[in-house]
Subunit: 357 residues, 2 copies
């Protein structure tokens, strides 16, 4: 890789002349400019983005604070974020948000130091404190928060329309004759609160409630979900369907049912939320709500780029975008045991072959 | 965030004096230095990493070229990479390698422009051409390649010891009486070639071979694995065990068996390779080889940092590190149907409850 100084030596001109020629600024003799550009191309000159960043005030880099990158939901968001950044020719400086929350203010320090053009915050594992979020406000570049909102937040936000997703699940389950419904909820995060409220409301409209014994909090990981689902399903009176906070929780519930010798969906219907790849690959495949997760990431980038391009001229009001969701019916839901629907032929998508062994 | 110029104005000194004081360089009056440091702290001054990068030749940033970030294997590697970079106080500039391969030389252009201190290459989806890899050699900073090697490569490499993993699987299956073994292999990647050769060799030592009808190539994704497994398992004569290239392929095989009405592990044992989180969460849980994937990523960072710190003083010879693996026996393997072992009580960890429904 050749430097500007080397180009200057080869072309027998000064470094400022090379800099002007490469920067397409005036006051360079056209023939000299041609000569300089040719040498630059021939020897594979690459502009120094660090210097360019200082000159333009733009680094074409966006900082992305993520949760564990191996969390399947976060990874799906990231796939969309990376695609969006690539399309907009931004690069991605990636941080582990949780590590940074533990370390204090490190993110802000680093994004301040590196002069990134904006910041995208994926859902963290540990909810950041109000002080932490207030501190983030001192970062005078656009910020977009993805999926989870935090108390009193006034940041730009891209997430999904959780309520209608839950309503679709309730409609689906009750059409299948389910009235005894259990719930694994996560009320520590905003999406969990919205979904739990939507479930209570939608059931109430049908005159249904969830008994306390069938309603258990989960933090969202597999092992915890497995334990809580086991607690519900080991009772003498079991629900016929379990509504789970998300796909991951549903996987825990599925494993618990399997290990208790219950057949899904014959004995128990299970629903998720997200539509991660595993919902399609697990058996029985999971009935869930498709959040179009990568598109959430992509949309977050688009909003951020819009804000970056508007700069201080743009509206300083923060924007909230919620993408629509869609129910995806697969094989983990079926008519409630004992319901009139149960024996309707062609209606069941259960593990028929297994049962005839 | 205050600038050096603003500090200079407040303290009534020149900008170079502020710069010297903050950089802890001599020839600044100690009282003036104190005053400058106090103002810098008070107004939350942050050094500009771009300028520091130009001055020091180090940016404390490592470029990481990844496959799809939502690929569970890649995400596990990334988790280790991010942890390692965090420990070593490096930041991560993240690229999508496949997009860059499609776009031509973009990675090299960007890492050249940004003056990153090193490069980590995760396994790509599309095998890069020999020209592409040769081109990478013109990047005069350390490079570490993870998991997959490429023809004629002489880069630093961190991966796992694939052969012994396959030998452990063969030993496990044959101890369970399996002699009719099928194989879903991926010979487009180096790990797949090593594992396939190890399987053939280990079986040959026991006088066993895999009939051609039970040996099928897969590219590694779920849908393709599902199709290939279905092709093997739909034959009149079926294998009693399927050795799969990796966990993802094993999930495809599991779904195929399930949809054909076969019970795993009663009718068919299945093995994976990697030990992704799904191996633990799926039912039956997957017998597989633990590659300790995050540790591979972590080790790659350690090797890279070593090379960065040695600089041009260090050995220019590339290093190859292969981490040991371990067989993890779960519930997807059991004695072969019809083998003497099959009815040994307490030996079976099968889905007993399901079968009695």
């Amino acid at each position: 890789m050749i430097s500007m100084k080397q180009i200057a030596t080869i072309c027998d001109v000064s470094v400022p002349t090379v800099s002007k020629a490469l920067g397409n600024r005036p006051s360079v003799n056209p023939q000299t400019r041609q000569r300089i550009l040719k040498v630059a191309e021939q020897f594979n000159y690459r502009p120094n983005a660090l210097i360019r960043g200082i000159q333009s005030g733009r680094t074409m880099t966006v900082a992305v604070a993520c949760n564990r990158i191996d969390d399947p939901f976060g990874a799906q968001v990231m796939q969309g974020v990376l695609g969006g950044l690539h399309q907009n020719q931004f690069e991605c400086l990636l941080f582990n948000w949780d590590q940074s929350v533990r370390d204090g203010k490190r993110i802000l320090q680093i994004i301040g130091e590196r002069r990134v053009d904006g910041l995208i915050l994926l859902p963290p594992e540990q909810i950041p404190s109000a002080e932490y979020m207030t501190e983030l406000r001192t970062f005078h570049r656009p910020i977009v928060i993805v999926d989870q909102t935090f108390a009193d937040q006034t940041f730009n936000f891209v997430g999904t329309d959780d309520g209608p997703g839950i309503e679709a699940i309730v409609q689906h389950l009750t059409q299948f004759g389910h009235q005894q419904i259990g719930h694994l909820y996560n009320d520590t995060v905003s999406t969990g609160q919205i979904r739990a409220n939507a479930l209570t409301r939608a059931l109430a409209q049908l005159g249904l409630t969830i008994p306390q014994a069938w309603s258990r909090p989960v933090v969202g990981d597999f092992d915890d979900s497995y334990v809580q689902a086991t607690a519900i399903l080991s009772q003498n009176a079991r629900p016929t369907a379990l509504v789970c906070f998300n796909d991951h929780v549903a996987m825990g519930a599925h494993a618990a049912a399997y290990d208790l010798g219950l057949s899904v969906p014959r004995d128990l219907s299970i629903t998720g939320f997200a539509d991660l790849p595993e919902a399609h690959t697990m058996r029985p495949a999971l009935t869930t709500v498709n959040q179009n997760v990568p598109q959430v990431g992509q949309r977050a980038v688009e909003l951020l780029v819009e804000k970056i391009e508007q700069g201080e001229q743009g509206s300083q009001e923060s924007q909230t975008i919620r993408l629509p969701v869609e129910l995806v019916v697969r094989d983990s839901t079926a008519p409630a045991p004992g319901s009139l629907l149960e024996n309707t032929s062609g209606f069941l998508k259960v593990d028929e072959p297994l049962s005839t062994l």
